[in-house]
Amino acid sequence: MIAVTEAGFAFLVRGWTGPLVVLALVLATALVAGVSRRMLPFVLATLPLVLSIMLINTFLFPGAHDPIGTIGPFTATWTGLLAALQATLRVVAFALSVAVFALTTDTDDLLTDLEQRGLGRRAEFVIGAAVRTVPRMIERAGEIVDAQRARGLDTQGGPIRRVRGVLPLAGPMISSSLGEVEERTMALEARAFTAPTRRTAIRHLPDSLGQRVVRWGSFAAVVLVVAATFGGWLSLP
């Protein structure tokens, strides 16, 4: 809830205040949770988007007439640069909110909680299977690479050679996965997956009064601030 609240703040509150407050909150949350060092990959993942935001806004901001400098036909403007920085802060704050969520939430705990709150078993199965199947697919790709290599296919070397080597993997990967679908469906039915009863919960997650207060307080805060901002009652820089 804290991560969602932070993401909401970052995008919905106008001006500098939203993203800056969120960045501070995210970093504080990450420090408390002890995950600050593991957030770097999430920041790096935003680089392509940040780069495009910076270039487009700085050089192509519509109606800006306060030039910083010119490169060929393109003119960088102060207005564009400030807008780019603000947008970048929002994107980074959002990415870090997601990072905090991903790094502090166990998938099984999340699914258990959602199930206890009424998420259907089909939805839970789809999410759970997807989360657990991805590593298995990666392993299988490795096995197929080894098998292809043992039969003389070149899967190493330059990028073009590697792409050429990897393309034949797609067929076996897809066909073997599809081939398993029917059997998996039968296996699920044979294990009473379609029973109309509510599944037995085997884990009960703690949900203290403090956690509930913080959760609902966060939700109320984001609703109030966003409403105040859009209603014009809260003037933010």
Binding site: A190, A192, F193
Partner: protein, 276 residues
């Protein structure tokens, strides 16, 4: 009280040729019936039909009738079938749910689907683990166990549903002799003490000789041989049907060829099912 197939023929959707032709089969409660045959003889399809998954889930066309305790499988919903007739598939990995983070949770998957009280879920899982002596695997990731272990986990998952009948498609195909013995003992115990009726497809005829009272051999979707296990396994046409006779039969024949007389009664006793 029995699992009964009467005049069953079956063909898959989109095909013209039936895979099974006029199969008659009866599995009583507490009885273990074996099925053998060459590859592509229709053994796995027979399992799907007996468990009610074909045509129910798979589709296709069924002629004749399949009844579990006098109730047609076609009239039962999949989750009702799951509680009456458990099915172990040939490929144990695809039988695993893929959503459980431990073997314990994997075995609990079926009982949880039925919404059983937590205490009963726990009791069933512990019993399943103990029956196949895989307690040490309880906390392991089910997707990261060996093929043989996955087969035991899949079997324990089926046992946890406590069906009146079990249909097992090559339950020991990935197991070593010790694991095969273990599964054989567990199944014999289930049939003997819990009164579970078991239909087992196996290539390992030594296991069939030890475990089953009756068996049949399929050939191109038809019953080629049927009867008491010792008689079927001693049939001279067995090898021509793609089934390797058990070692005791082979030994008896080799001995006879070498002019050594082995008492047929001793051989029959050696082939007879040994129950705990």
């Amino acid at each position: 009280m029995a699992l009964v197939l009467s005049g069953v023929s079956y063909r898959y959707a989109g095909t013209q040729k039936p895979v099974l032709h006029g199969i008659d089969l009866r599995v009583e409660r507490g009885e273990v019936v074996g099925v053998a045959g060459a590859s592509d003889a229709g053994k796995s399809t027979l399992c799907l039909v007996a468990a009610g998954l074909a045509p129910g889930t798979v589709g296709g066309t069924l002629a004749g009738s399949v009844e579990i305790d006098s109730e047609a499988t076609t009239s039962l919903k999949p989750f009702e079938l799951a509680q009456r007739c458990g099915m172990l598939f040939q490929n144990s990995v695809t039988q695993l749910s893929g959503t459980s983070r431990s073997v314990w949770e994997e075995i609990a998957f079926g009982p949880r689907n039925l919404g059983l009280p937590l205490a009963e879920v726990v009791e069933r899982v512990e019993a399943g683990l103990a029956a196949l002596r895989i307690e040490a695997l309880a906390s392991r990731d089910p997707l990261r166990v060996s093929g043989g272990q996955a087969q035991l986990v899949a079997l324990a998952s089926v046992l946890a549903l406590r069906p009146a009948y079990l249909v097992l498609d090559e339950p020991t195909s990935q197991l070593d002799p010790e694991g095969t013995q273990l599964v054989g003992d567990a199944l014999a115990g289930l049939a003997g003490t819990a009164g579970t009726g078991i239909l087992i497809v196996e290539h390992k005829t030594d296991l069939l000789a030890r475990l089953t009272q009756r068996m049949l051999v399929l050939d191109d979707g038809r019953v080629a041989l049927a009867g008491a296990t010792e008689a079927v396994l001693a049939d001279p046409t067995l090898r021509a049907l793609g089934v390797e006779p058990p070692s005791l039969v082979t030994i008896g024949r080799e001995a006879a060829t070498a002019g050594i007389h082995l008492d047929p009664a001793d051989l029959a006793m050696a082939l007879a099912p040994r129950r705990a």
